[in-house]
């Protein structure tokens, strides 16, 4: 079984859901983010948040996946002050919805004053509601942005055990782990980094507080990145228990601190959910642990070679 802790499923097709379920992914987390272009009204933001707590959760259930989300104002849109103010007003309404496992994605994009302001305000909200935080580390000036994200979180008195720093690479992982935060890695196809790097990272740092996700969205990305990475780790000689931690137990432990994601959700869901929301994972039916087979898609050869860390 796998948990993919970073997926923008509203951008994905039903084929993706089918392939994910078949590959053994039982749960996915949809962080609130921008949509490839900035929203210009709070109304569209409300509808977006309702969509990721509503229809997308339903849709995932049709394919046997449980769907969770995080709620937050992302750093890019934090730069539109009028929008940001209005979104901050409505966030508390969504933060306690069922299946909301964190406040996020938060952090910095260009590290502007407005980004800083709304990052801090949302850290306070997470503290008040005792929810974990998902931090999106910036694509540019990444190391400095990551260090600053952590410093500010500590300054606001957040327990690093409740904070996931996402989109790590070799330049950031040491300091993230040293400070006691969770370190997540987004595995994308076709990036400049080598495909064995996740394996190397695990060989160097072990599996404590480390996990990986696909960050699949509307761009070139692979919703099967987590099961494929598990397979890569296996081929790279990583012990099975470490693979399980990185692809299942750790994201569950990190976001499970919200009380909103639990193994029982897919292994033994409440009767009311079985009647309405969750069609069950057919892979899991029959009392078997899911078999994870890596089947290259026709004509593509072994696409494990395409997997890279951001």
């Amino acid at each position: 079984m796998f948990v993919d802790s970073h997926t923008h499923m509203i951008s994905r097709t039903t084929d993706d859901y089918e392939r994910m379920a078949a590959a053994g992914i039982v749960a996915c987390i949809e962080p609130a983010f921008w949509l490839g272009q900035p929203r210009t009204h709070v109304g569209t933001y409300i509808d977006y948040l309702s969509l990721i707590c509503g229809f997308e959760r339903f849709r995932a259930g049709q394919f046997g996946l449980r769907h969770y989300c995080t709620i937050g104002l992302n750093p890019k849109e934090a730069n539109n002050e009028e929008l940001a103010e209005a979104v901050m007003e409505i966030l508390p309404r969504y933060a306690l919805k069922e299946g909301v496992v964190a406040i996020g994605e938060l952090g910095y994009d260009e590290q502007t004053a407005l980004e800083d302001k709304y990052y801090r305000l949302q850290l306070e909200l997470a503290k008040e509601l005792q929810l974990p935080v998902m931090v999106h580390t910036p694509h540019r000036d990444k190391r400095q942005g990551t260090l600053r994200s952590m410093a500010v979180a500590l300054e606001h008195g957040l327990d690093p055990r409740l904070v996931v720093i996402d989109h790590n690479n070799e330049e950031t992982v040491r300091e993230v782990l040293d400070r006691g935060f969770w370190a997540a890695f987004s595995i994308y196809p076709f990036t400049k980094m080598g495909n064995e790097r996740m394996v190397e990272i695990v060989k160097t740092y072990g599996a404590e507080r480390i996990f990986c996700d696909s960050a699949c969205d509307w761009g070139v990305s692979d919703p099967l990145a987590v099961p494929k990475t598990a397979e890569l780790m296996r081929r790279g000689g990583i012990p099975e228990e470490q693979i399980t931690k990185i692809t299942y137990e750790n994201p569950l432990a990190a976001y499970g601190q919200s009380g909103q994601i639990n193994e029982a959700d897919w292994l033994n869901p409440p009767a009311i959910d079985q009647r309405t929301l969750y069609m069950g994972n057919t892979v899991l039916r029959g009392g078997q642990a899911p078999r994870v087979e890596h089947k290259p898609r026709a004509g593509t050869g072994d696409d494990l070679a395409d997997l890279k860390i951001v």
Partner: protein, 293 residues
């Protein structure tokens, strides 16, 4: 109805309290007390937000006596498959009613607009319990338009609201949509009493679409056809009697017993065994619904 709100809350509380620990019960009662006395909006969404966390999602598992109490408090109300969180959230929403219908409607609308999927199901199921029922027709129709089957069913199934408030067009589309999305008809309240000629025509046209696509037709479809069956519909029923599977043929016979036309009688005479069973109400629409896919 307004006088009924405290009764409804009391009934809901009885059911919920049985399933809760002393701590959870205390929290529930605190929320009701807070929401009953000039609540601010934040109190409401915090109570709703924490409901699943503090109270869980167990089934209420209501007894026959409980369901009778529901009927007494609000005729037609059928909470047989409600859960603790649903009953609690409905109690919270009702507790915030202070006699001002417009204010209550605005609040409900706001709650619907920012609801998660579990809340949507809950708020739609509770449609028959809201004061000033006519105010919520547009909202109910929105739910019946939903592409999410559990939301649609929260309005359509085991809910007296559509039978009482939907106009003919809304009603007909709800019934047709149920078939269209593979939802059952039998749990819809008022199915027989609200049958009408226009619905009969819509359903027969739909059956023809399905036949053209070589796709199965639910036996339940014929339930709303029989009483107002015209010549074309009777020809369709004759076709089902000739070519349908057992459940479809039983359904056609049941449908024909609801028609007063001579043609219906002669069709039934052609299938004496089915006609005899149908006249005795067998196997009955509920049984046919249970065996439908």
């Amino acid at each position: 109805m307004e006088n009924g709100v405290p009764t409804l809350i009391a009934v809901l509380r009885t059911w919920v309290a049985r399933r809760l620990s002393a701590d959870a019960r205390r929290w529930f009662d605190e929320q009701i007390a807070k929401l009953s006395s000039a609540p601010i909006e934040k109190d409401i969404y915090l109570a709703l937000g924490y409901a699943t966390r503090r109270l869980g999602k167990h089934d209420l598992d209501l007894s026959r006596e409980d369901l009778a109490a529901a009927q007494a408090a609000r005729p037609g109300w059928d909470p047989s498959d409600w859960s603790v969180d649903q009953a609690s959230r409905v109690a919270f929403v009702l507790a915030s009613f202070d006699g001002d219908d417009a204010k209550f409607q605005a609040r409900i609308e706001q709650l619907f607009r920012t609801a998660d999927i579990g809340e949507l199901i809950t708020f739609y199921r509770a449609l028959p319990l809201y004061p000033a029922p006519k105010r919520h027709v547009a909202r109910a129709r929105e739910g019946a338009r939903s592409g999410m089957q559990p939301i649609f069913e929260a309005v359509a199934h085991r809910n007296p609201y559509p039978r009482e408030q939907f106009d003919e067009n809304a009603w007909n589309h709800m019934v047709l949509k149920a078939l269209f999305i593979g939802s059952k008809l039998d749990p819809i309240q008022g199915l027989d009493e609200r049958a009408n000629p226009r619905l009969m025509r819509m359903l027969c046209d739909y059956a023809h679409e399905r036949w053209a696509a070589a796709r199965p037709v639910s036996p339940e479809l014929w339930r709303c056809v029989g009483r107002y069956a015209d010549d074309a519909a009777l020809a369709d029923l004759a076709r089902v009697l000739e070519t349908g599977g057992l459940a479809e043929r039983q359904a056609a016979a049941l449908a024909l017993t609801a028609s007063t036309s001579a043609r219906a009688k002669s069709l039934l005479a052609g299938v004496p065994e089915l006609a005899r069973a149908a006249a005795a109400g067998k196997p009955g629409w509920t049984a046919l619904s249970a065996t439908a896919q």
